[in-house]
Structures are given as C-alpha cells and as structure tokens.
C-alpha cells in the first residue's frame, strides 16, 4: 500500500487530503469536523450526535427525502458518526458519481435547515436510540465507569448524551452548534479512490471555496485532574451474567507512550481485528476459566482517555478471584520484561491488519482524516515503524506507569434477575 497523498489548504481554511487508488472504480469521500462529545457542556450533552442526525434532514437544494434517495440511487453507501473528538460524514460511490457527494457535502456545510418539526421527530428517534443502548448491560456498565473516571473533563458523558438533555435540547441549541462548528476552517475533506488529483482538486475548489471561512471555534478545555485512587462501582440489572470492566487512565494518542502501550495491548488483549486466543489475558482468564470472554482496547483520543478491559465473568467464579487473576497477569508485565520476539510478533500482526485494511478504499479515506483528528496522517503512516521501535524496556516502563490500581476504575454489572422476576 502506498501512502502518497496530496494535501492542500483551500482559501477558506478547509484542509483537503487526496489519495489516488486505482484498484476498483470506487471513490470514498469523508468530511470531518473538529467537534465531538468532548466539546459539550453539561445541559447540552448529545448535541454533536443530534446535529449529525439533523444533517440528514435536508437543505433547500437537497430536501430530506431527496437527499438520501439521490445517494442510494447511484449505488452509494453513506453514513455518519460522532465520536468523542470529531463528527464525520462519508459517501462511498461508484467513481463516476462522486460529484453528487461533493455537492451535497458542500451544500450541507452551511445550508441545512434544522426545521422545528424535524427536530421534534428526531428527538424521539434519538431517545429510542439511547433506550436501545440501555437494553445492553455492557453499555450501562461502560457509561457508569466513564462517569466515574471523569468528573471535570467532558469525556465524562456518553456520545449519545444524557436522557435529561435529550429531552430539553432545543432547535436553537442544535442550530447554534451547527453554525459554530461547521465552518470550512474547522473541517477536513479526505478522499481516496479512482480519480485524477488535479481534476478532483479543481472540482473541490469550485464547490467548497465559496463557503465562507468562519470564526475558529474554541474547543472546550477542562483537563481532568490525576486520579486519587482506585474507585469501584456496581451496576445492577436484569440477566444472569456478570460483567466486569476495568478502566485505566491512558495517555492521548499523540503521546510518546502511546506506541509502547499499543504493543502492550497486543500482548494483553490481542491485535485489533484478529482472534486473541493466545493473548495473555485470554490465557490467564478464559483458559483458566475465570471468564468466558475477555476483550480490551485503547482508544486514540485528543486528551487522555481510558484503556478498557471487559470481562464476561465465568458463572462459577467470584469476581474477586477473577480480578486477582487479572492483577497477577498485569504484575507479570511489570516485573518481567517481555521478549523481543513478542514485540516482533505484535508488529507482524499489525502489518497483516494493515494489509487487510488496504483492500478497502473506504477504510483508506477514513484513516487519513481519523489520524488528523488527534494527531496527523504521519501518525498513521509511521505507525508500523513506531511499533517496531518499541523495546522490552519501554513495555515494562509503561506497564509500571499506567497499570496502577490508583489509576483505574473497576465496574461490576451484577445481575438481579431473580429478584426482578
């Protein structure tokens, strides 16, 4: 996979990143706005995600029922998502139809209507989305852990928002959010696929440069103080299954410790996107029958967030025993340096995952923008070489530094079905 790209900043401050790939007659276009749930104050939680929904409710040029049909008619796939740090919209289209996606994105960068009636009907849709999430024990546990891990930083709340705010956010709140953050100088357009860069750039300028530059929106900045010690919590709910979530405070993605921690994560929980039955946690917890499953993942974020380990507890085990087995495994990493071979293995796994990802054009356009949101595209292109530079000493050092009990929240979902029946 080549990583050659063209990067241009338009006159209105919008950044454009283009990557030609001529393996299939497909183009994927992503537009990224630097705003996510981390920018939401109390009382407005969920406003980024709701605004994302409203972006599908139409402009004068592309009314609601016209817009989705127009993309589908051309065989395109499109969607959007909101994360803690960004909001992004994509269209993956047959190569000769991409112009429609570009026109649509240029238009809805400033012309979305946010009709009062549409806001009302979307309110219940989003409440329903949240109710669907609340059906899942692991969502309820995750939300409680996150709320406990962050008191000051807005990573405190879930992206979907708190129910109280979903009931009270107004049309004007949404529209103000849109007008504040959806400006070209706060956005990045990333496109990968079967096009010629020169012609594509010309068309992008025609469509996007007329959108006037806005005031650069400030980002909410409320750093979370260092944790003061381990916190434990319990969530009760229906079912028979006990889940445990252990969440360690983790550095941001641009931090130099992030790469040794990625290697550490590969050793503990397996490489992302692959099976993980020889990972240290699987062997220590599932093979030894403390758990029936375990998964773990770091999240690449702008500010320090969490490294989470989710354990589906074995029905015959007490959670304290399972946690002791987890701690023993972490202790091993802190006490004894891992071998160089283990690091080489983690790098080989990452290389394979990169190769699988390169089969997919949507994925390639995604990574350009995603990496820009918390660091830069260089973060992505130098990923494998940075992993290869990690030493056994690095892994031991970060294991000792970050995997301390004082640095974590432990949440336990305890089933109460017998009582609720």
């Amino acid at each position: 996979m080549t990583n050659q790209i063209t990067q241009v900043t338009l006159k209105n401050g919008m950044k454009v990143m283009l990557k030609e790939i001529h393996t299939a007659p497909i183009i994927s276009s992503w537009i990224w706005y630097r705003v996510g749930s981390r920018d939401e104050p109390t009382g407005k939680t969920g406003v980024s995600h709701w605004t994302e929904h409203m972006q599908f409710k139409g402009t004068k040029k592309f009314p609601a029922n016209v817009l989705d049909k127009a993309i589908s008619r051309e065989g395109g796939r499109w969607n959007a998502s909101t994360s803690r740090d960004s909001t992004r919209y994509f269209e993956t289209m047959p190569a000769d139809k991409i112009d429609l996606a570009l026109r649509l994105e240029a238009d809805r960068m400033k012309n979305s209507i946010f009709d009062e009636k549409e806001v009302a009907s979307e309110r219940t849709v989003i409440i329903s989305e949240r109710e669907g999430l609340e059906n899942e024990p692991t969502f309820r546990l995750s939300e409680a852990v996150q709320q406990t891990a962050f008191h000051v930083h807005p990573y405190h709340h879930e992206i979907i928002g708190d129910m109280a705010d979903l009931r009270t956010i107004t049309r004007d709140d949404l529209y103000e959010h849109y007008r504040t953050y959806y400006v070209p100088n706060n956005s990045i357009l990333t496109i990968a696929g079967d096009f010629q860069t020169k012609a594509m750039l010309k068309r992008i300028k025609e469509l996007f440069e007329p959108v006037p530059m806005g005031k650069m929106p400030p980002r909410l900045n409320r750093p979370e103080p260092e944790p003061k010690g381990e916190v434990r919590l319990t969530v009760e709910g229906p079912g028979e299954t006990t889940f445990i979530q252990v969440a360690y405070r983790f550095p941001n993605a641009a931090h130099p410790d992030y790469f040794p921690l990625q290697v550490l994560d590969s050793l503990l929980g397996g490489a992302s996107g692959l099976s993980y039955k020889t990972s240290r946690l699987y062997r220590a917890l599932v093979d030894k029958e403390f758990a029936v499953d375990v998964s773990s993942w770091p999240e690449a974020t702008i500010d320090p967030f969490l490294y989470r380990i989710i354990i589906t507890n074995h029905p015959k085990r007490k959670t304290e025993k399972t946690l002791a087995a987890l701690d023993a495994e972490i202790q091993k990493l802190q006490d004894k340096r891992v071998s160089k071979d283990e690091i080489t293995r983690a790098v080989k796994q990452a290389r394979a995952v990169f190769a699988y990802g390169s089969e997919n054009i949507t994925n390639q356009a995604f990574w350009m923008g995603y990496a820009e949101m918390f660091s830069s595209y260089h973060w992505f292109t130098s990923h494998l070489s940075n992993l290869a530079k990690v030493t056994p000493q690095d892994v031991q050092r970060v294991a000792q530094k970050y995997f301390q009990p004082a640095n974590r929240v432990i949440g336990i979902y305890t089933p109460n079905s017998r009582r609720s029946k």
Partner: protein
C-alpha cells in the same frame, strides 16, 4: 502519470474470464480469483454439516461441533493452533447454520499454506478434548443466558418458532440450555464422523495468488480426504401455511426498549420471483433511509431508531420480515404503521420511480460489494451455492432491470397477506 489497475475489460466484476473453478477427485469444489493489489488472501467455504441433522433433544450439536474443531487436533493443542495463526496475523474460524457448516480465514499470501493446513487438520482430525469441550460448553451457556436477555434475539426466535412451526427452520441453531447440557463428547465425535466429509464441500480463495497455485495448495491438504459413509442432508419437509395473524409477546421486564418482528414466508433464493421480491423489499424497507417503513416509522413518526424490512432467502423457504426497535409505549402504534405499509404494498405495489431507484441502487452498489477479497469470496460462494453461472455478476444488471412493476406486485400478493402475519415482540 496514473497507472490503471482496473481489469482490462473495464469491469471490476468477477466473471468467467477470471474465476477459476475446479473440482477435486474427492468432490471438493475450489473457486479462485486473483487480486494482486494487496498482499493478502481471503478464504471462505462450506460443507453440508449443519443443524438439519440434529434431533430436538440435542439441538445446538452442529454448532457445538463447528465451535470445537479448533479446540485440539491429533497433532496440535488449542493453544498451538491459535499460536500459529495469531503469530502471523492470520485468522481462521468455523460457524454453523441449518444446512451447512461454514469457515472463513485470511492471511498474508505467504501464510496461506499455514492457514490451509490448519483448516485441513481442524476438518479431518479434531479430537474434541474433554476439558476443552467443557470450557466451550460454559461459554455457549453464557451466550444463551445473554441471548435470553436480548429483546431482538428473543423476538426473532419466537418469530421463527411461529412461522416455521414443525419445520427445521423453527429451531435456533445455537440450541437451548437444556439441549446444550445434554450433548456429550461422544455426540460431537459421532456427528463429526457422520457428516464432515469432502462431498458437497466448496472453498473459495481470493487474493494475491495465481489460481492454479491456489488449487494446488488446496489439493495438497484436502485432496486426499475420503469419507466413504458421509451422510448427506435430508430433504426439507414442507412448512405449514399461516392461516390467520398470530402474535406473541415475550416479557423482558426491565428493558427500556422493545423489539418487534412482523413477517411471513418469503421466496427461496432460486425461485423465479426472488428478484421481484428483493427489489420490492428494497422499496418497502431498504432504499434510502430504510424505505417506506423507515419513512413511516422513523422519519415521519419518530418512533424508532431502526425500522426496516429484509428478505432472507436460501436453499429452503425464506423469510420476509420487518424489524424495529421501539419504545415500549409505542409498540402498538409502530405495529399499526407497519401493517398499514404492508396493506399499501400489496394493494398498489411500487411506483415506476421507486422501482427505477432501487434498480439503480442494486446496479450501482455492486462494485462496492466486490471491492475486498472477502467480498469476492462471498460472491464466488454465492455463484456456486445457487448455480447462478460464472457470468452472473456481469449479467446482474440485466437481471435487475428485467423486474417490472407488475412482477413486484404479483410477488408481493403471492407472499404477503396483511391478515396472515406473524407478529413477535419482546420487551417490558
């Protein structure tokens, strides 16, 4: 200067000129297609060893067997198998449905021999170690306990039970707690011995490898597999017609959202009206933002985050169903709106524009579905399973265009009767 890497015929669609098909002497069909754009390989396939062979008392047996294949073979332990795979970032897994056990894997091209060797050992020489079987049993039982609390799973299970009363499709392939508890190691061994064999097995390999080399690689590890007594699947019994609308509500008291499934029998994949049903369904509950159902239940009424319809068409009778997740207090209202859409659909079918839109969507999205090696491997298996012909994806546009408004209406009326629906809900 730009290098064009798209295939010479200007199409990225698989066709007779680049799909290679060969049947090994023991009956295994191998399908391959090269793609040198990425150094990776996707592999997928199936063999007729699904849950159709199970008794009601041992429901979940086929699934249990497929999940056990990589838990230990005559030469390697569970940990050794996964160590080989994970050390090189490769993957391999098995699954099971009503008719077939299926498998899939991927790797960098250099590691294909390793993946095929493990596939072969898992298929031919699994030993079902007792301690691994018990570990797996605990995992399956926990999975079933989680399923018991899932509104969508519970609504879907009751739907299949009512729609396919007395038919093998009425049963959940992952079984029930009582049936999983009854399955012994001997059952696993015997099921494997009777039903796993080369007859009816199909394997597709797509990626950075020459087709002949791919076939030779399969031949090397699976060409000598012989199972003289391999028991082949029984034919499907007929299903009972639904005489009037039936309803069932499964109570899950503490949930915040209810799930619903409303539907009926749908066509088989090889029925001539399959394409009319599929395009009609696109208008009903797929196109744009989940079609007319999405428009009515989500966009206009704000009742649900997801509300769509789908066809599931395979070897036997399919299902045609509407699914939605709604607030418990809106359940009745949502059902009413869906019934209204179904009535409208069988009364007047689809408009000319609606049909043209869905046809354009089907044709336009095809290159996307075969963009990755995994997508092409699925496409090749689809061709083989339903005998669609090597040129199927190249003929696809004309197949889609041949569907008319009349054929959609006729098909809708053949399958959908708003007075004979199966309505299954789960929630508070």
């Amino acid at each position: 200067m730009t290098k064009r890497l798209i295939r010479k015929n200007g199409s990225s669609l698989p066709g007779p000129e680049d799909i290679h098909r060969e049947v090994l002497s023991n009956g295994i069909t191998v399908l391959t297609r090269s793609n040198f754009n990425s150094p990776s390989i996707s592999m997928a396939g199936y063999l007729p060893a699904g849950s159709i062979f199970e008794s009601d008392e041992k429901l979940g047996l086929a699934d249990f067997v497929s999940a056990s294949l990589m838990r230990g073979t005559q030469t390697k332990s569970f940990d050794a198998i996964y160590n080989e795979l994970e050390s090189v970032g490769a993957g391999l897994g098995f699954d099971s449905g009503v008719h077939n056990a299926s498998f899939g894997g991927r790797s960098l091209v250099d590691d294909l021999p390793l993946v095929l060797k493990l596939l072969s050992e898992s298929l031919l020489t699994p030993i079902f170690p007792k301690h691994e079987v018990e570990k797996l049993r605990a995992q399956i039982l926990t999975g079933l306990a989680i399923r018991e609390q899932d509104t969508s799973d519970m609504a879907a299970m009751a739907f299949d039970r009512m729609l396919f009363d007395g038919h093998p499709y009425s049963r959940p392939a992952d079984g029930y707690v009582e049936t999983i508890e009854q399955i012994t190691q001997k059952d696993l061994v015997e099921f494997h011995r009777a039903h796993y064999g080369p007859r009816g097995m199909v394997i597709a390999i797509v990626g950075a490898i020459d087709p002949k080399k791919a076939v030779a690689a399969v031949e090397r590890v699976l060409g000598g597999w012989q199972v003289p007594g391999q028991v082949l699947p029984p034919s499907l019994p007929p299903h009972k017609p639904i005489k009037k609308t039936v309803r069932h509500h499964h109570v899950l008291a503490s949930k915040s959202q209810s799930d619903l499934v409303i539907g009926m029998i749908g066509p088989k994949r090889n029925d001539p009206e399959f394409y009319a049903a599929s395009l009609g369904n696109s208008v009903l509950g797929q196109f744009g933002m989940m079609g007319r159902i999405g428009e009515s239940v989500r966009e206009k009424s704000g009742l649900a985050y997801h509300a769509s319809s789908s066809l599931s068409a395979g070897i036997g009778p399919g299902t045609w169903e509407v699914n939605a997740g709604v607030s418990p207090k809106n359940l009745k209202k949502a059902i009413g709106l869906i019934e209204q859409e179904l009535r409208k659909f069988v009364k007047s079918g689809v408009t000319k524009d609606e049909l043209a839109d869905s046809q354009a969507n089907y044709i336009g999205r095809l290159p996307l579905s075969v963009e990755s090696n995994g997508g092409v491997a699925s496409a090749l298996l689809n061709i083989e399973r339903y005998k669609l012909g090597m040129d199927y994806y190249q003929r696809y546009e004309s197949v889609v265009r041949s569907v008319t408004r009349d054929s959609v209406l006729e098909t809708a009326r053949k399958y959908i009767d708003p007075n004979r629906l199966v309505i299954s809900t789960a929630g508070p």
